[in-house]
């Protein structure tokens, strides 16, 4: 039996090692503390856990299957399994967290929820949970993302949510978070901010991870079953803020022998502004309430990012990931836009599963890496389905003449 890794937990100040914390203006301290207390109470309350479990099983579609990707496995020479979060209601893992937080908002007596969204998956998930639980919802979304994720914008509107275009800064996810935080600071009396990733001030990184940790718990049990009691050799997931990755990894953290790899957006190139790969060129800094690895210039200004996938197009990574990397428990790789697009096609053609472009990054790394590990067992976090990306991929390939 290999030596267990001691899993670091956020301390009372929300620190994972030197990362995390609460870097927010004084005006946000009261709502953040109120949320911390309410979440601690809910977490300890069996009726909250029961209610959430009920929603996850009877509404969202948990547990999700672990699918063996047989044709890919045969081609690559390793056993590849897919944890099918794409089969959840609304089409991505985001619903795990949205249901948890909107349920919590109801318990806190909040009468309105707000959220930010990049690819639109978290926005759709929050809009869905809000509709289910009867709360009005406003989603902030960068105008660049509104353009490239038109389908999800319409879905949110169908669900009764108001989508507000954010035109400041780079007009993408980070600017949507800025705007959601401004709304929250002005309206926290009746409003809960449903932050969509393992980012932001404490308690968000821990709370959002807790809501997604079900992914890894299920995977562990399912993998043991198909692998005759053994654990997989390697888990792979894409990392924007890192919510699906930490959700998949968390139950496996103690098992040192299980290798954990997060895949970031390598974008068009490694030049500043052309990618969203924080590990490597990233510096330790503060953005959106947390101290973590981020992309900034030497003056501390946050750099623009680029990824073909809106959900990975963000300059910072969740503080727990930064800490796990510093401790050597996880590592992070990147793949380019082109590799992700190739993987988008490969998974569609070989397995009949169209992945989200975010998810395609994890698949792309496996396509590159699996042949070097013959006979190993690999679980890929299939975080979302790709329907939302079909129009933009078609457009991209049509314009570039790549489509056959």
């Amino acid at each position: 039996m290999a030596e267990k890794f001691v899993v670091p937990e956020a301390d009372a100040a929300g620190r994972f090692g030197e990362f995390g914390g609460r870097f927010v203006p004084e005006t946000l301290m009261a709502p953040v503390e109120e949320l911390t207390l309410a979440y601690a109470k809910a977490r300890a309350d069996a009726s909250f856990r029961r209610e959430l479990h009920g929603l996850l099983t009877t509404y969202a579609g948990r547990p999700t299957p672990l699918t063996e990707a047989r044709r890919l496995s045969a081609e690559l020479g390793a056993r590849i399994f897919l944890k099918r979060e794409d089969l959840l209601h609304t089409g991505a893992h985001k619903i795990n967290n949205a249901l948890g937080q909107v349920l919590l908002a109801k318990r806190m007596g909040k009468r309105r929820v707000i959220a930010e969204t990049g690819a639109g998956q978290h926005g759709v998930a929050t809009a869905t949970a809000a509709a289910l639980m009867g709360l009005p919802c406003v989603v902030y979304m960068g105008s660049v993302d509104i353009e490239r994720q038109a389908l999800n914008v319409y879905r949110m509107r169908l669900l009764g949510t108001k989508v507000v275009a954010v035109d400041s800064g780079s007009k993408t996810l980070k600017d949507a978070i800025n705007e959601a935080m401004r709304d929250w600071v002005a309206n926290y009396g009746d409003t809960h901010y449903v932050l969509g990733s393992v980012l932001g001030p404490h308690p968000y990184p821990r709370m959002v991870r807790d809501f997604h940790a079900v992914i890894g718990r299920e995977t562990r049990a399912q993998a043991r079953k198909v692998l005759g009691g053994k654990l997989p050799d390697l888990l792979v997931a894409c990392v924007g803020g890192g919510s699906n990755a930490i959700g998949l990894f968390h139950a496996f953290l103690p098992d040192r022998q299980v290798e954990l790899v997060g895949v970031e957006a390598g974008g068009r190139s490694s030049a500043p502004g052309e990618h969203a790969a924080r590990f490597g060129p990233g510096r330790v800094g503060v953005l959106h309430g947390t101290r973590t690895l981020l992309l900034a210039d030497e003056d501390g200004q946050i750099l623009p990012t680029h990824s073909v996938s809106a959900g990975l197009d963000y300059p910072a990574v969740g503080p727990e990931h930064a800490n796990l990397a510093a401790l050597g428990r996880t590592r992070y790789e990147s793949v380019t836009d082109d590799e992700a697009l190739a993987a988008f096609h490969a998974l569609s053609e070989k397995e009949g599963i169209i992945p989200a472009l975010e998810t395609a990054h994890a698949v792309a790394w496996v396509l590159r890496e699996a042949p070097k590990r013959p006979g190993s067992t690999i679980v890929v976090g299939l975080s979302g389905r790709g329907d939302k990306d079909v129009p933009s991929v078609a457009r991209l390939e049509g314009l570039e003449g790549v489509a056959s």
């Binding site: 301290m29 002005a186 503060v286 003056d299």
Partner: protein
Amino acid sequence: MSGRIARAFTRAAREGRAALVVFVEAGDPSLEVTGRLLPALAEAGADVIELGVPFSDPIADGPAIQRASERALAAGTSLANVLDLVARVRSGGLDVPVVLFGYANPVLAMGEAAFASRAAEAGVDGALVTDLPPEEGQEFASTLRATRLDPVFLLAPTSPPRRVKIVGRMSRGFVYVVSRPGVTGVRADVPEGLEDLVTRVKAGVGRLPVAVGFGISTPEQVAAVARIADGVVVGSAVVLALEGAVAAGEDPVVAAAALVRRLAAATGR
């Protein structure tokens, strides 16, 4: 602890008025304009200048200051050249206290200790880092104090007595009370309950002067706040005056100074 800030508040009190704290964004629309602006603001009646250091993601600011930050960054402004600017205007004889007002990441990128020594050398008197609340700003505050700079912290209507006390212990120069929930910007009214808030804060921070800001833009609002607080902060209104003058092809320094003169006339008790 250069003492310039304390002296400015003492002088205003002796003259039977509140100190006028004026915020402008450094580098909006250019550092050259800011260099002319600072002496003009002092001359027009600003007792303390809060000099904004632009940041790409100013979550505590409303649209007026967000636009100012974007203009300043587009003009090439950085923390380093803001410090150079302060050094320049100080050597030109500017005597009004200058408090830098900004966000954590540019300060961390420079390094807290390097920031403190360079700021002190440039003639800066204090610093307020919006997203460094007392919990995260302990070390920074003691670094500043050791460099004879005044750390200034925010308090909000929701800050419980415990936090008021902590902020009182950690701050020097003055304490900045946010008048209402929300971001910076121009509002029409003065919030209800402000007097109680200021009384509560004063009781918790000892002898430190208390300045009130967020949403204060007109001489009438300045007069109302001056009756209850030691200082009044006006930011977005001045930034909008600068923006309007630039758009109209007028000299932004003249426009901002004219507004500050009207505001300064309303600080009496």
